[in-house]
Symmetry: C2
Subunit: 343 residues, 2 copies
Amino acid sequence: MSNERTEISSLGEFGLIEHLTKNNETKNASTILSVGDDAAVIDHYGKQTVITTDMLVEGIHFDLMYTPLKHLGYKAVIVNLSDVYAMNATPAQITLSIAFSNRFSLEALTEFYDGVYAACERYGVDLVGGDTTSSQKGMIISVTAIGEVSPDMFVKRSTAKNGDLLCVSGFLGGAFLGLTILEREKRIFAETGAQPDLEGQDYIMSRLLKPEARKDIIEFLEEAEIMPTSMIDVSDGLSSEALHLCKQSNLGCIIYEEKIPIHESARQFAYKLEIDPTACALSGGEDYELLFTIAQADYEKIVKNENISVIGYMTNAEEGKHILTKGGNKHELVAQGWNHMKS
Amino acid sequence: MSNERTEISSLGEFGLIEHLTKNNETKNASTILSVGDDAAVIDHYGKQTVITTDMLVEGIHFDLMYTPLKHLGYKAVIVNLSDVYAMNATPAQITLSIAFSNRFSLEALTEFYDGVYAACERYGVDLVGGDTTSSQKGMIISVTAIGEVSPDMFVKRSTAKNGDLLCVSGFLGGAFLGLTILEREKRIFAETGAQPDLEGQDYIMSRLLKPEARKDIIEFLEEAEIMPTSMIDVSDGLSSEALHLCKQSNLGCIIYEEKIPIHESARQFAYKLEIDPTACALSGGEDYELLFTIAQADYEKIVKNENISVIGYMTNAEEGKHILTKGGNKHELVAQGWNHMKS
């Protein structure tokens, strides 16, 4: 090892991935799409499969103080299925590896697996393998999902066109607000011993603790014969994901603040905390909705689905990436992400 | 969560997996083989793929005090490729997820990835995806490998027949002895500050630190038109793996101690430490050789390959699982594993 030392924080996660994969060349004809998208694409002699993987680390991605283990197992599967759907593919198999310290009992692990199986059942996915091992500290979960897609029907991030409409499913910002209330109640409990006051906040808590993957949207797009021109799932916040589509498609975009879908329960709770609901949607993350672009010609078809909002459109790269506020101002879109929101 | 508490240690790893997967039913026609073997098998409309995953945890599976990061990256890939070969398949893609604390620099991570890419290059495998994240403590690595196999040519653990010959590739016990010397030198360094004395122990150290997967054996079997009747890779020691083949095929076995292949360097070092070399082979593990059974009719073909040893044969389940010692005694085969050896 050389004696130089570069702090990883100086690159950021995406810079790090770019650095680590810059010399990664594919060797197999069956590898159609490799790193750099929600999932890879592998050709299997006519039919194509996608593969994606995510790692969840206790203390980084989840806090077992307020995350029921069954919900955690469910979510560990969902975050991977969401990546498969974001390729316009149907998940079929997962593998699950888990490391845990000796503070976990068999009953605790069984709860976790109950959640894993519940997600597999709901989404018609098979758990086909995995690994269980010890950890020195905490729980670490690694899930890999494999999905099927008809030849060349997978949708990348890099193929949006100038003028395409930018669409998003469901509502945004709820998961971040769910995290905010749980972190607040945890703090109050630590300071005063007071039991959590979570009344009336079922919606935002379920957005954080029990997210769903948008299988229904992929099915709708197929039925309506809409082929998205690009797609990504919303795990890091709307800003970050929109910027990924722009960068990888070499385009700009305009997003209308008033069009960003925010659930009424989330909006009310944000006001109560004196947080801007739009900021929650832009930078909150973990919503696991689908952000995608479609040709303008598909507009009439898309508006028939009330679970999809058209929130803007793609422009030339030179026009930049902007959000038009309700007040009529134009701001540059920046990816601040979850960590910035928390501090 | 219920209030009962069962210690996971009371089940053992395999008991735990059995418990956690006992209600796991497959739902997709494409899932041909699920948990319980070295890898799963997925049918892709004519061609079949296998998928396998392994997690490596710092402090549990490796010690960075004596494991160069480049070797660790290489080994993290190899242990998964070995599982693919153990299915009689050819690895084609891997995904890699890694969590690490902020004590790791970019240079350190780059070293690790250099090892990953070196293994990919050598085995013709594509790195097609992954995840990088923070950990609270240490480094955790999760690799998933996907391999290709001609329809119904994959080899399971459960299909050995009574009378089949039991064969193993390469040499056994070396990796355990490599670990032993490194642990010893680490202890001496901690106690006295003396620099490690590793002279002349290149062979056993490379068996631990830079194992290879037996691609050559799979290629030989294909060329020689030998279809193994069952196969497994040796990650937990010969005893443990032979018992897996017996249990899953519902058979017994006889192993001849004198036929167990042990490298001369390993044997000499074992004598120096006053350890039984046979015990190292039976319980040491991490050799990543292939243990397989063949029909007796294939004996003439198999003996042409000097990298393969015929070490025994399969019997009826009622006859039990035994080792015949050089002294003519018959002992029951028990799976003590690596941890027992270390203590």
